[in-house]
């Protein structure tokens, strides 16, 4: 129980605003927004403080026993801060964006309340110290995302929300089964760098392999690995900020983060590679990458195409985890951050296009470069980053993934990365061509104001910021403040055991 107050504060910084917002009147826009932003500010400040303290060597822990041998445990380590930092910074931009996007929408109080709860769940996932706590927040996340998907209250979003619920409840149940099996075998342990399963020396390898597959299915539903990805494209019926949140901040990332925890801190990477479960993961990742990219090619709807792109890109993280050796791990973990930043930019742009010109289909995007230059520029940066053009962030992750694959002599994986880059360009470059080289379909909206942006400034500012971030994360990859440096520290810990 060291410094447990900070952990509680970290969770409350988004939980309390959510509670207050639920009881606020719908018309108190200013109060609601300022409460939200206050929560975001506190959270970012706290995460920054935790970063600094962790570097100085302070520990943060909060634990109490719920039942015999089952412990509720929150703790802060390098891995949790990687994800917490990403979520809280992107939460700031998403909140700003959502305020702009939903200006005329109904039920804003409900939306922002659950929005904050969603972030609470995600932060809870970050600081969970063992599988049981992780599971609690994992299910909490499922429940609070459901109303967000339903926000539009039309037939499509109803379908989407129900499908999401089916998938994730199934995943949750399987996840629980895996946890119970593991618990009956070795008891509950906290996450530890290098894993704890090898040390306990219980169970034969086949049993542990089966448990891994069960856990993978459980967490993989949220990470949208291939046979379990069906809910994600449907969920595109929700408003743009929700998609952004699903893809970059909370849900999909939570799944990927869960797999990171399981492989590195439950099984331990060396033990996992001895058991051969890394090959299972690699197979799943490769299938997902290729399938997602191929499906994305045939989507006419911009957001659907982005959704399939997410399916494929998130599996880069899994691919990196499945490559034994520091380089592959760096590639996978750094992609957790880079993919988040780039994908959120793409969704912000898609939302800005649809809210300003009602553009949802790709063939309506002709000439947007002239009518919405800033959003188009951001879209271009993020899309090129996804393809992996230097010096953007995506290149850095692809570089390490490639090196990691060759470190193990896996030419096949390098081939898959190359093929996926080809497919990525095949579905992003035609969009860029339409944006920049075709004549505009729509007249530019001329505003009466003397100085005006191409759309609502609250839509434009966040997407510019995240686009800039995806450029800076690449350009300054070697500086001390970059995600890459932090990941390198982390990987050093995982492999030094």
């Amino acid at each position: 129980m060291e410094n447990s107050l900070y952990l509680v504060a970290l969770l409350l910084s988004s939980f309390l605003p959510a509670l207050i917002i639920f009881f606020l009147d719908e018309k108190r826009v200013v109060l609601r927004n300022s409460l939200n932003l206050l929560g975001v500010g506190t959270k970012i400040a706290l995460v920054a403080f935790l970063f600094i303290s962790l570097i100085e060597g302070t520990h943060f822990r909060l634990s109490f026993e719920i039942a015999q041998g089952v412990e509720f445990l929150l703790k802060v380590d390098e891995l949790s801060l990687l994800f917490a930092g990403l979520s809280s910074v992107l939460w700031l931009f998403t909140t700003l964006y959502a305020i702009g996007y939903l200006k005329k929408s109904k039920n804003q109080g409900r939306f922002f309340g659950f929005f904050s709860l969603c972030v609470t769940a995600t932060i809870g996932l970050c600081v969970s110290g063992n599988l049981f706590t992780f599971f609690l927040f994992y299910e909490f996340l499922t429940l609070v995302t459901f109303p967000l998907l339903l926000h539009n209250q039309d037939e499509a979003s109803k379908q989407a929300a129900i499908s999401y619920l089916k998938y994730t409840l199934f995943g949750g149940a399987v996840f629980l089964l895996g946890i119970v099996l593991l618990h009956s075998l070795v008891g509950s342990h906290e996450f530890v760098s290098g894993g704890y399963l090898q040390a306990t020396q219980e169970g034969d390898s086949l049993y542990l392999q089966i448990i891994f597959v069960i856990l993978l299915i459980g967490v993989g539903v949220k990470a949208a690995i291939v046979p379990l990805h069906g809910w994600l494209p449907k969920a595109m019926a929700a408003p743009a900020p929700v998609s952004a949140l699903l893809h970059a901040v909370a849900v999909v990332k939570a799944g990927a983060f869960g797999i990171v925890r399981i492989v590195y801190e439950v099984y331990g990477i060396e033990f996992a590679s001895m058991l051969g479960i890394l090959y299972i993961l690699m197979f799943v990742a490769i299938m997902t990458i290729l399938y997602g990219s191929l499906k994305a090619l045939f989507q006419e709807d911009l957001k659907k195409r982005l959704a399939y792109s997410t399916i494929s890109q998130v599996s880069y993280i899994l691919l990196g985890i499945s490559l034994f050796g520091p380089l592959g791990t760096i590639g996978g973990l750094v992609h957790l951050v880079h993919q988040g930043v780039m994908k959120i930019t793409l969704f912000f742009c898609a939302g800005a296009f649809s809210s300003t010109y009602k553009i949802t289909k790709i063939d309506q995007m002709d000439g947007l470069g002239k009518t919405m230059p800033l959003a188009s520029l951001s879209f271009t940066l993020a899309a090129l980053g996804m393809i992996g053009i230097p010096p953007l962030a995506g290149f850095v992750s692809k570089w390490y993934l490639g090196l990691g694959a060759l470190e193990n002599g896996l030419w096949l994986v390098v081939g898959v990365i190359g093929l996926s880059a080809l497919l990525n360009s095949a579905y992003f470059l035609p969009i860029l061509y339409r944006i920049w080289f075709r004549a505009p379909l729509y007249e530019k909206q001329i505003s009466a104001k003397k100085f005006s942006l191409e759309a609502d400034p609250l839509l434009i500012f966040p997407l510019l910021a995240t686009a800039l971030l995806s450029l800076l994360l690449g350009v300054f990859a070697m500086s001390d403040l970059s995600a890459l440096e932090w990941v390198k520290q982390l990987v050093y810990l995982e492999y030094s055991q």
Binding site: G388, I389, P390, P391, F395, V396, K398, W399, G402, L403, L406, E407, W411, V414, G415, I417, G418, L419, A421, L422, S425, L429, F437, G474, V475, F476, A477, M478, S479
Partner: protein, 503 residues
């Protein structure tokens, strides 16, 4: 526009005065980018910035539509091309190379005609495949050698990596069977862009080969012989060019056959590491020579297209064309002498001379085509950049400090070509116009014409026509990128299977 011109002038001054051996480092950018001006870099810098500057001056006079977008892409492409000349690590090279390749898309599509769009789409597909191959090659080089500097990556002895490098840059050079994008792109870009595309951007691929191959360190027989065969096959490009009726496509096909020489040289380097230094000088001087003359010809072709052939242009054209063929006292003669000094097989020498004959034929065809264009009085100012290139080309033999001499072998191809050409004219044999055809049709069709003219017409199954149809379909397949890529994939697969069985 002004920014681009200023940058170009600055780059020119930099190239002229930067001393060999200077180092620059940008540590904060990506994984750190370092620049090192060695002899190779200096040569490339000089001709690259000179040709870009002259093309830009020409563009000032000729680009009137969508100026801003043209100059933007011009700027981007130049930045990439300039940077890759003297960067000294693989990632920096990759960065600048992609900048250049993607920027050129904007230049090719500039006219926005149907042809330009199709050409640009074909081009960008090739570019992306090249980029991916290059990425894999770089990752494997760095993974094998553990460093990103050019000096460090020569350790690799893996054939697969070498083939990846050869293919990745081979697309840019326009090696035979990867060349289909080249005539399309070069013929439909604006003249000032095709001049740099054909003159200097092809050479970026050459530089890529120099830098990424284990140049003069390791040898590889398979790759070496493949390159020599492909280089000789490039003469086909020149022959096929004879069937074209647009000035710029003639020149583009000529580029393919000219780059064939360079490909052969690289093949020799891979066979025999002893001679690599000699061959390097040959490659460098040939690249510089071809850059100056070919870009000048492209600029000139656009002038001729607009205003017809007058005396000034005939003189300029004669000079550049004769340099390209390699007549005595021109830069071409020097470059070809250096080239031949590195080759000791007489068969290869004869084939290279055949290449010169084809070039000469192409130039004669160019002349006859341009004589058909109606003359209009032309302004002088667009000719000035071409004149600048003329001075550069004139000065090249002195810069190379090589004693030029008169050899019969230098003149012979030209007169042979002249003879063939006059013969064809006398016999009234028209070379058919072929958008897509094949090399063998060139040999069969004239014979059919001969038969017709002598009234020997027998009704029987025509073997030649059937063969012609077969080759036509092969060419049609070759010019569609998907078949090329499939073939490429098959080739890679074949190699890996081969490797599997060998070891």
């Amino acid at each position: 526009m002004i920014a681009t011109l200023l940058l170009l002038c600055g780059a020119m001054l930099f190239s002229l005065f930067v001393p060999i051996g200077s180092l620059f480092n940008i540590d904060w950018f990506l994984f750190g980018i370092s620049f090192h001006v060695d002899l190779i870099a200096k040569v490339f810098l000089l001709f690259t910035s000179f040709v870009w500057l002259m093309s830009a001056l020409y563009a000032v006079h000729t680009i009137s539509k969508r100026e801003r977008s043209f100059w933007f892409w011009f700027f981007i492409t130049f930045l990439g091309n300039f940077g890759l000349c003297f960067v000294s690590d693989v990632l920096g090279f990759y960065l600048f190379f992609s900048l250049m390749s993607f920027g050129a898309f904007g230049l090719i599509i500039h006219e926005k005609t149907k042809e330009a769009k199709e050409a640009a789409f074909v081009y960008i597909k090739y570019v992306i495949v090249g980029e991916v191959l290059l990425f894999i090659a770089i990752v494997s080089l760095v993974s094998q050698c553990g460093g990103t500097q050019f000096e460090q990556i020569t350790c690799s002895d893996s054939l697969a990596t070498l083939i990846l490098v050869l293919l990745a840059f081979g697309i840019k050079i326009g090696v035979f069977f990867l060349h289909s994008w080249l005539p399309l792109a070069h013929a439909s870009a604006p003249a000032s862009a095709s001049a740099v595309l054909s003159g200097v951007m092809l050479k970026a691929g050459v530089l890529g080969w120099i830098r990424f191959m284990p140049f003069g360190v390791a040898s590889s027989e398979i790759a070496g012989y493949s390159l020599i065969v492909l280089g000789v096959l490039a003469i086909y490009g020149g022959l096929y060019g004879l069937t074209q009726n647009k000035l710029k496509s003639l020149l583009a096909y000529s580029s393919i056959s000219q780059m064939g020489y360079v490909v052969v040289l690289f093949g020799l380097v891979l066979l025999d590491t002893q001679k690599s230094e000699l061959l390097l000088y040959a490659i460098l001087s040939f690249s510089a020579h071809h850059a100056l003359n070919k870009s000048a010809l492209f600029l000139l072709s656009s002038e001729i297209n607009k205003y017809g052939l007058d005396l000034r242009k005939v003189l300029l054209f004669a000079f550049f064309a004769l340099s390209l063929i390699g007549l005595p006292f021109t830069s071409g003669a020097i470059a070809k002498e250096m080239l031949k000094s590195g080759v000791d097989s007489s068969v290869l020498l004869a084939l290279l001379s055949l290449g010169a004959v084809v070039t000469a034929l192409l130039m004669l065809k160019f002349l006859s085509l341009s004589r058909e264009i109606q003359k209009v009085s032309s302004p002088l100012s667009p000719l000035l950049p071409i004149f600048g290139l003329f001075l550069g080309s004139l000065a090249l033999p002195w810069i190379l400090e090589s004693a030029g001499g008169f050899r019969w072998m230098q003149v012979l191809p030209f007169f042979m070509a002249l003879g063939i050409y006059i013969f064809l004219k006398k016999q009234k044999i028209e070379i058919p116009l072929m958008p897509q055809g094949d090399m063998l049709a060139l040999f069969y069709l004239p014979r059919q014409e001969l038969k017709k003219s002598r009234n020997i017409q027998k009704q029987r199954w025509d073997f030649s026509r059937a063969l012609e149809a077969v080759f036509r379909s092969i060419e049609a397949a070759l010019s569609q990128e998907k078949y090329v890529f499939l073939f490429l994939l098959g080739y890679l697969l074949f190699l890996s299977v081969l490797r599997f069985f060998l070891y």
